[in-house]
Amino acid sequence: MGGGMSGPSFNIDNGYLEGLIRGFKNGILTRNDYLNLVQCETLEDLKVHLQSTDYGSFLANEPGPLSVSVIDDKLRNKLVLEFQHIRNQSVEPLSTFLDYITYSYMIDNIVLLITGTLHQRSISELAAKCHPLGIFEQMEAIGAVSTPAELYNTIIVDTPLAPFFLDCIFVQDLDEMNIEIIRNTLYKNYLEEFHNFCQQIGGITADVMCEILAFEADRRAIIITINSFGTELTKDDRSKLYPCCGKLHPEGLSALARSDDYDQVRAVADYYAEYKVLFEGAGNNPGDKTLEDKLFEHEVKLNVFSFLQQFHFGVFYSFIKLKEQEIRNIIWISECVAQRHRTKIDNYIPIF
């Protein structure tokens, strides 16, 4: 497939959609837009400014006063509409590629529902909080299951997540620790599968996507390690959660598996030029950027780079990720505006 995917033959099936996505990408807010947004006094001001961007009249039918959650919903709806339009127009292998993007949202939704039911929340309340890209039919019946095996046999078996779940079937019961293990195992398997799929597609898609997915894998490995300090998770169990499609694999991962504190993680990252910079720029003092933000910034950078090449699927993935980041940014700014807590309003991550 690799050779045939480039140039004009790419355009036969995907040219229109690539054009469309690049058009959507041009609507992503710029630095200038953010500079204007942070000057807003109220959410109404924010609405006025967003009206002059690609978001247009997306809030026009909302009765005032606006709330952050309404903005969040509408922002998300717009993204979902755009995604679904593209998904409906796509053909193989792009359609499978786009489906892979939705799997990560399905994983999040499953975890959200299980955790929610564990805390005795009602399913309908939880379902409203699920990401619309990851909704599937069997999802809300999750209240009827009580063990991972049951979860697999009744719900997941009918979804595309089934192959990712096989490793979790032996987990005993659904407590918080195990849910986290399930989430990370699902994610690990998903990332590796996705990475594999992109390599099968080959060509520029593989070049671009493997780079992005490798970073995603490494980021998860680093975050899992840092978050596991001080919990009951054994080093052995922890190392099973690391996705093996990143640049840290295999030496970095085995070093991470042995580390006991933040400094050791940092020492591992020092061996990798691109991660070393991220750790150096991060700090916990006021005014410093957190490691998480630094990682997000790096992700944004990779996703922006993917638009520099043509004739590949990476742009679709990158668009979704950039848009997600933009939504996080707008919501961050809206929260700061709504709570009149402006000191940290500049902690958004500009995209262009």
Binding site: C40, V48, H49, E62, S124, M139, A141, A144, N153, D158
Partner: protein, 689 residues
């Protein structure tokens, strides 16, 4: 074959018409003739003036409203550095947005309930004054509240009704399921029909529990599978489709649903089944065990449905009353609110000091109208200080503005809507034009229709020209018509070519020699002689004829375009463009395509039937001209020399066209840089006082 001919003809006809069209379009768009206000088609943009307006605070709103009504000023933004949401009148804009939102809601509801009552008479209300805005706001607020209340009542009632209907369906449909279950459990015959009631069900109830409910039909398959998986096949599900159309109370859409009964054993399964039902958004309804209870319940439900229906129709009547009052005015309200909003948007562009200062462009010829509008605005606001309007000198590039009327509008926004044949097209366009008033009032039509409608005059012309060319080519729906009688006669052929009537009857084809069969003094009066339609070489004859015409028309049109550019160059006094573009273009075009046209005419004149055998092929001639070959038959004496000269001239034109202008511009640029470089160093900076 026939199809192919038709297509070819259509292409030719349309091609020719298209040339006329482009001819007009070009002239309306990018040409350089002096502006003539009396001319229907203006050839270049109106002359624009930059104006500055000083408006009193009290009068500004009314003045701008009047400017909006005449629509002749393009305001410039004088507050580029100020954020949209920090401008002075943003609150008013927001209030308008809010009003629009309410109106949209009302319109949506009216569209749902009484679409026929939304009227659009094409009314154009005057811009309301700010004081009127409060009244409008109040009015819309009240309307919105009333409507929302009525709607929520209606929604609750319909929801109740839906639930009762579903329950009723359950009670009816499950009858059969329970009966089946009884028979399966108690195969012993139950005696007569009346006796067949409780004992069976009683026997069943302690052992089996059941849940009844309603689920949307599309989720049923997955629901059933999930039940089977979750309960490991230990439940039994019966279902039946509800044929009655059920309306979803929120969206108002018809949804297909199914009634189901699930039989199971034990409490654990009950909780599990219940959870799955909830997960699949199935509505569960209690259903009594015994048949008599079910019957009673069904009767009760039926009366309750009737009650609710009464209340519901009253609520709907109330809602309709509210809406029909609003529907009559909704377009006018929209127009009013949008006008207010537009005025405040313009005010936001102005520089607000002691007076309100606005800048913009307006057509120089219409400045009087602007003055008039300002005067009206001042009067309307009741102040006595008039607005001041200055014309400014500026080097900024003015916007392009074409005055259009109904006719030229379509050329401005030209659409190439090729379809149909001449007459149909003509009639269709005529129908649109005759019904213009009605269509203009109809807003919100589909985009495709608007495209066609916008091009109605073009379509009319296309139709007309197609009919005309149809006559010329003697071709109506690809059939020729013999109106005047052919000028070809076989009688002379008999005498001069030794053929008899018998030969004609026996030979399938016969070649007519125009020397004998054609009566030269009485040609067919209009267009092509119909006899050609019978001939075998019809297509090759017609094609060559049409192609030649098309070439001549096309070259003429290209030439026209080039001369229009001359008008533009001389308007801007652009000598270099004339010398380096226009002149070589004309020479190039004449020496090749123009020469071809000359040859076509020569060939038409010089060769008749008697010498047609030696008539040269023009296509080959032209190719030979480029290949520097000698022609077997010369069209005229000295052809070889003429062609070589033309070819050399044409080839020389190419570098002339492509190289001269950039070289001159580069030279100018270098010279100017040199001059500026010197002046910067030599001229002392003047002192400021």
């Amino acid at each position: 074959m026939q199809l192919c001919v038709v297509r070819l003809l259509l292409l030719h006809v349309l091609g020719t018409v298209d040339q006329f069209l482009i001819f007009f379009t070009r002239s309306a768009r990018d040409t350089g003739m002096a502006n003539n206000r009396n001319c229907g088609i203006s050839f270049r943009s109106e002359k624009m003036s930059r104006i500055q307006l000083f408006l009193q605070h009290d009068a500004a709103y009314a003045c701008i409203a009047e400017f909006g009504e005449i629509g002749l000023i393009e305001f410039s933004d004088l507050n580029l550095s100020v954020n949209e949401f920090q401008r002075k009148y943003i609150n008013e804009v927001r209030r308008c947005d809010e009003m629009e939102r309410k109106l949209r809601y009302v319109e949506k509801e009216a569209q749902k309930c009484i679409p026929e009552e939304i009227r659009d008479m094409g009314e154009d209300p005057e811009t309301p004054m700010p004081s009127e805005m409060f009244d409008l706001e109040l009015q819309f607020e009240r309307l919105d509240d009333e409507l929302r209340e009525a709607n929520s009542n209606k929604e609750t009632l319909s929801k109740n009704k839906l639930e009762l209907m579903e329950l009723l369906q359950i009670l009816r449909e499950t009858q059969g399921f329970f009966a089946d279950a009884e028979i399966a459990l108690n195969p012993a015959p139950q005696g007569s029909e009346e006796g067949h009631t409780d004992p069976g069900v009683d026997a069943l109830s302690p052992k089996f529990g059941f849940i009844t409910g309603v689920i949307s039909r599309e989720r049923l398959a997955s629901f059933e599978r999930m039940l089977w998986r979750a309960c490991r096949g230990n439940v039994f599900l019966r279902q039946a489709a509800i044929d009655l159309p059920l309306v979803d109370p929120v969206s108002g859409e018809v949804v297909d649903k199914c009634v189901f009964v699930i039989f199971f054993q034990g409490e654990q399964l009950r909780t599990k089944v219940k959870k799955i039902c909830e997960g699949y958004k199935a509505t569960m309804y209690p259903c009594p065990d015994s048949q008599s209870e079910r019957k009673d319940m069904a009767a009760g439900v039926l009366t309750r449905i009737e009650d609710i229906q009464t209340v519901l129709s009253q609520t709907e009547e109330h809602q309709r009353r509210i809406l029909s009052g609003a529907a009559r005015n909704i377009r006018v309200w929209f127009a009013k609110v949008r006008k207010i909003k537009a005025v405040y948007h313009v005010l936001n562009l102005c520089n607000i000091q002691k007076a309100i200062v606005a800048e913009g462009w307006c057509p120089s010829n219409d400045i009087d109208l602007v003055h008039g509008a300002a005067r009206r605005g001042t009067e309307r606001s009741g102040t006595d200080i008039p607005a001041i309007i200055n014309t400014m000198e500026t080097t900024k590039t003015p916007p392009t503005y074409h005055k259009t009327n109904k006719f030229t509008y379509a050329f401005q926004a030209i659409v190439d809507a090729y379809f149909g044949h001449g007459l149909i097209m003509f009639l269709f366009a005529l129908w649109m034009i005759l019904n213009e008033k009605r269509f203009n009032a109809e807003k919100g039509a589909s985009e495709i229709w608007l495209t066609i409608y916008g091009g109605r005059y073009i379509i009319l012309l296309m139709g007309l020209f197609s009919i005309y060319t149809g006559f010329l080519y003697n071709d109506a729906f690809s059939k020729s018509v013999n109106i005047f009688g052919s000028s070809w006669s076989l009688e002379n052929t008999f005498t001069d070519m030794n053929v008899t009537a018998n030969t004609i009857l026996t030979t399938p084809t016969i070649q007519l020699n125009p020397i004998y069969t054609y009566t030269p003094n009485s040609p067919y009066p209009l267009g092509v002689d119909p006899v050609w339609n019978l001939s075998k070489n019809k297509i090759s004859f017609m094609n060559s004829y049409k192609m030649k015409l098309s070439v001549i028309l096309g070259v003429a049109q290209m030439m026209f375009g080039v001369f229009l550019s001359l008008a533009n160059h001389s308007y801007f006094n652009n000598k270099i463009n004339i010398l380096a573009e226009f002149i070589p273009q004309v020479i190039f075009l004449t020496s090749i395509m123009g020469y071809l046209c000359v040859m076509i005419v020569i060939k038409w004149i010089k060769f008749d039937a008697s010498v047609s055998a030696v008539a040269p092929s023009l296509l080959i001639t032209l190719i030979d001209m480029f290949l520097l070959k000698a022609h077997p038959h010369d069209l005229y004496a000295g052809q070889w020399y003429v062609e070589k000269i033309l070819l050399v001239v044409a080839v020389l034109c190419i570098p002339w066209m492509l190289l001269l202008k950039p070289l001159v511009i580069r030279a100018q640029h270098r010279r100017s840089r040199l001059v500026r470089g010197i002046s910067l160093r030599s001229v002392p900076i003047p002192l400021r006082f």
